[in-house]
Symmetry: C2
Subunit: 383 residues, 2 copies
């Protein structure tokens, strides 16, 4: 079995483990079980017709006396590119718009309040090629671009907050950015959040295309809760998650594009650790499939030039502040993950574990200020 054929860890466990052991294994691996969410039959049918996986789960919180539950539904969408990477650019973008359009329609039927797409969802993840053309032509204005307009229409139509991560072109300064556009359910653009940490690894030195983001750790107050977007490589940086949380984020989305050989064993760890450490929900989204490029390219690993860099393994999931998580979407198929969560859980877990109160942040602020000096002397004891 090749790594890109293996469909899902959860399916494998459920097919083979005896029931009593499965309960223990799932408890240790995934924490308190997330309930399955009943989704409308018409949504299930539509997903099947449109050939994507549809899964629904629910995180519960305790009933409080003074606050009503704050149940909301998020949708995570993972998908293949639709047309070959050498098709005309406008056709590629339009095809992706259509695909997302039909998936978001199902999300709406499922009552999703906030949906998030994968990183640079309108294009192949072509940054491995190091070619500027034609890939930079996929870049659009965050405020005025067709993709933002498209999402604004969806947002209004379905009363849904949309997080739309694109390759952004800022005409004013002639700069490109890796940016998530956040659109309110009113259809208005709420703002944007740029990728804070840029990889220089394997096939990707993305600073060939765009540099570290300058939007800091902005949090967006939506009708359905306070959200933030930590794009892709930022998930490896605990301080990045932390700072979104310190600015009040209740849900942090992590739209990503990452392949197996590089990162798969880290995938279930990092977003989930962030949910635990910061008393919030995190949503990790990865694209699926293998993308082929016409020009060959090398990967700085001594190997021969090739036309693709591996299989995007999907496996999108949601993690909760109590350490539990949903199963992942498929490693191979397009999918929509619908997750209902009571946002009251964040404060309940925070009141229980108290990481924010036992964190000694003032002391870390002092220590970090020293550590970043070029003449910092580490505290090392020798015999």
């Amino acid at each position: 079995m090749s790594a890109c054929e293996f469909e899902s860890l959860e399916k494998s466990l459920e097919s083979h483990l005896p029931e009593a052991e499965l309960v223990e294994v799932k408890r240790i691996l995934f924490g308190k079980e997330t309930k399955k969410l009943d989704l409308p039959a018409c949504a299930v049918e539509a997903a099947s017709e449109r050939d994507f996986e549809l899964k629904g789960y629910k995180f519960d919180a305790a009933q409080e006396q003074l606050r009503p539950p704050r149940n909301i539904r998020v949708g995570l969408i993972q998908h293949h590119i639709v047309l070959p990477t050498d098709a005309p650019i406008l056709d590629q973008i339009s095809a992706m718009h259509s695909r997302i359009g039909e998936m978001v329609e199902v999300a709406a039927t499922c009552g999703v309040n906030i949906v998030c797409f994968q990183e640079t969802w309108t294009m192949p993840f072509a940054f491995c090629t190091r070619e500027k053309e034609p890939w930079t032509e996929f870049a659009e204005s965050a405020e005025e671009g067709n993709t933002t307009r498209f999402c604004q229409e969806l947002a209004k139509k379905y009363n849904m907050v949309i997080v739309s991560p694109i390759l952004e072109r800022e005409e004013l300064h002639g700069t490109l950015w890796n940016t998530a556009v956040v659109i309110s359910n009113s259809g208005n653009m709420l703002g944007k959040s740029r990728k804070n940490h840029i990889p220089r690894i394997g096939d990707f030195n993305e600073s060939t295309y765009y540099m570290e983001g300058n939007t800091g750790h902005t949090v967006f107050q939506t009708q359905f809760g306070k959200i933030a977007v930590n794009i892709c490589y930022g998930r490896h940086h605990p301080l990045n998650w932390f700072m979104y949380s310190m600015n009040g984020a209740e849900i942090i989305f992590n739209p990503s594009a990452t392949v197996g050989a590089l990162s798969e064993p880290m995938w279930p760890i990092e977003a989930r650790n962030a949910a635990i450490a910061n008393h919030c929900f995190t949503c990790a989204i990865n694209r699926v499939g293998t993308e082929h490029f016409k020009s060959e390219f090398t990967s700085g690993d001594g190997k021969k030039a090739h036309h693709d860099f591996g299989h995007f393994y999907g496996s999108s999931y949601v993690a909760a502040p109590d350490g539990s998580r949903t199963p992942g979407l498929s490693r191979t198929r397009d999918g929509l993950l619908v997750v209902e969560m009571d946002l009251n859980l964040n404060r309940q877990i925070s009141d229980k574990w108290s990481f924010k109160m036992t964190g000694r942040y003032a002391e870390y602020a002092e220590e970090l200020a020293k550590v970043v000096q070029h003449d910092f002397k580490p505290k090392i004891v020798k015999e």
Copy 2:
């Protein structure tokens, strides 16, 4: 099957999954496979006679041209308390010394260079009772106590660095601390590292007994590498791991005492995330068994008073900077985990992933300094 009977996640997977799927499941769950380490037959026999689990694994690194490999072996020891909690204190401590003595002897036979014991290893984890007596009588001087002397003898005898986490009494100020004593393989005490983050959760408000540590993020230069000790609850705080790493730690030990209901699903996540995020090795150690106390106590959860607070689930493991990890020790048995690692792997992974260079720490230092002000205004965008 009750949670305290379930022996091991890894055993369950290995017993039931077909070979081809097992390979994929293990790759996703544990990363690149750790090789089994051949251990001397006499060690295997001794472990069997002394009724503890003995497992050995090895993390490889690439061969470099300018640096020879830096292969070292660490030992992680998890164990039950030996005598009942109401036995005379000196007897309890002596029995624990004997048990550790016979386990360390096997570690020496296995070529272990650095061994670390579990949190407050000389005593039951009695802090749930909130009784000061007799538990504070287990506290000893870090410099002059019998347990430190005992460890110094072992260290000299076996040429082994010993990390010995105890309840420390500092006579000078009349204070107690939760402290790891670090003893060089010469037998000299290198120093001590106090628990930085103190839980106030469930059965444990440990600040009844000791407060937040004042030893900062000290790193100890040993003959076998630079080590640090992040005690128990500090594993929930990413900044704590981070700061040990910024001070140069190559291996961070996490001696712990934690029970299933509270933390088990977080256990495989946090130390491993720290190894990934900080390009270092982390070693998570938890005690095993259920400890019964004569006086009943309540747990602040509305339930009836009881005499124990649950099953310590062991499951000690080592995580590597490439995201891989060893299988865990048993959830139910005493055990010694021997892990060989080439410390060159840290720099190799750091050169590959470059989190320290893409981390933007200077900007976080500024941001954190603002965040900790009482009048901090979070960056929240509204419509």
